[in-house]
């Protein structure tokens, strides 16, 4: 009981301090300093219609590189934790499959999920969305297939190669910009094109497509590891 009371008092103090701090910066007031610059110069400098994408991939592209690395590290960490000796000799136990509607329905829906996810990450610079959202949608399609067919699995080696190649594309584009174009990492060196067309905004769509593939393969890998934890038998533990 003492712990809860101390926690409540502590929380009360912190929240009061926070409310007092934020009273000076009220909700809805325009607090932008760099934001104004981005809104004004976005079309000229990047050619992307979606300013949030321009900020994520061009102005603050380095943060996105970090985020991609975090996801990469998390997928590798989950793979390490769920690793069981004798990986390639494991067999998935033949489960009782779910009923007819789930099995057939998931096969019908899966291509549409792929299509929708791809639409989102290809049009990342024109509409809200982008690589991460599209990749997560595609991974949920994979999750649906796993739930419908627990005995099957994706080829992990191919996922690893796709993941690595997508990451290499991102870093490679950045290094290319550094060494040959403008002496600045992630310099946007392709033509800006016309606003609201797919082939506009230089390297931004290419990066988002790479990120979409990467995120989809990583989340699919995490889902595969967790699924295997539940249903795998065989190999030496």
């Amino acid at each position: 009981m003492i712990r809860k009371i101390t926690y409540a008092i502590f929380l009360g103090i912190i929240i009061t301090a926070l409310v007092l701090f934020f009273a000076a910066f009220p909700f809805g007031k325009n607090k932008m300093a760099v934001g104004n610059y981005y809104l004004k110069n976005d079309i000229k400098q990047t050619g992307a219609a979606n300013v949030v994408t321009a900020v994520t991939l061009d102005y603050r592209g380095f943060d996105t590189l970090g985020e991609v690395s975090v996801l990469f590290a998390a997928a590798a960490g989950v793979a390490i934790l769920f690793y069981v000796l004798g990986e390639d000799k494991k067999k998935r136990e033949k489960q009782v499959y779910p009923n007819f509607i789930v099995r057939v329905g998931s096969r019908i829906i899966f291509p549409f999920i792929l299509l929708f996810g791809s639409y989102i990450f290809i049009h990342g610079h024109l509409t809200p969305g982008g690589g991460f959202q599209g990749g997560a949608i595609i991974a949920s399609g994979f999750l649906l297939l796993y739930l419908a067919y627990p005995g099957e699995s994706v080829n992990r080696k191919r996922l690893s190669v796709v993941e690595g190649l997508a990451g290499l594309t991102f870093v490679g584009l950045g290094l290319w910009g550094l060494f040959t174009q403008g002496n600045s990492f992630l310099f946007n060196f392709l033509p800006k094109g016309q606003l609201n067309m797919i082939f506009s905004a230089g390297i931004l769509p290419i990066i988002y497509i790479a990120i979409g593939f990467k995120v989809a393969s990583e989340f699919a890998g995490i889902v595969d590891d967790m699924m295997c934890e539940a249903v795998c038998r065989g190999g030496e533990k």
């Binding site: 929240i15 909700f27 325009n30 809104l39 949030v52 998390a74 769920f82 024109l126």
Partner: protein, 113 residues
């Protein structure tokens, strides 16, 4: 202001779950609540009264009518990072259950002083 208070309450409830609760799954949910509260806070910082989404989709939108794009980009990054942390935490919880057979954190104390 209500958005700020809501975000801080979420963070507060999440901290409460992590510090006081004994079930591993509840601690996991507490981590998620802290992440969600922080993301809500970031997004609500960027709002401008009467502003609209920062996308040049229609012909008549000018830069003056838009909300701040930077917190939205920051939230994108923070959400992905939060999801990765949670995935790793879930993996740890599964392994802990396999080793100790219980979800009670008071029993998982094999590393002493």
């Amino acid at each position: 202001m209500i958005y700020y208070v809501g975000a801080f309450l979420l963070i507060g409830i999440g901290l409460y779950a992590i510090i006081i609760k004994k079930n591993l799954i509840k601690i996991l949910i507490g981590l998620d609540l802290i992440a969600s509260g922080t993301n809500l806070l970031i997004v609500s910082i960027g709002y401008v009264n009467g502003g609209t989404a920062p996308i040049f989709s229609r012909a008549g939108i000018t830069a003056k009518m838009m909300v701040d794009p930077v917190p939205q980009a920051l939230t994108l990054t923070a959400i992905v990072i939060g999801a990765s942390e949670l995935a790793l935490a879930a993996a740890f919880v599964v392994l802990l259950y396999r080793h100790y057979g219980t979800l009670d954190i008071k029993k998982i104390r094999s590393l002493k002083w």
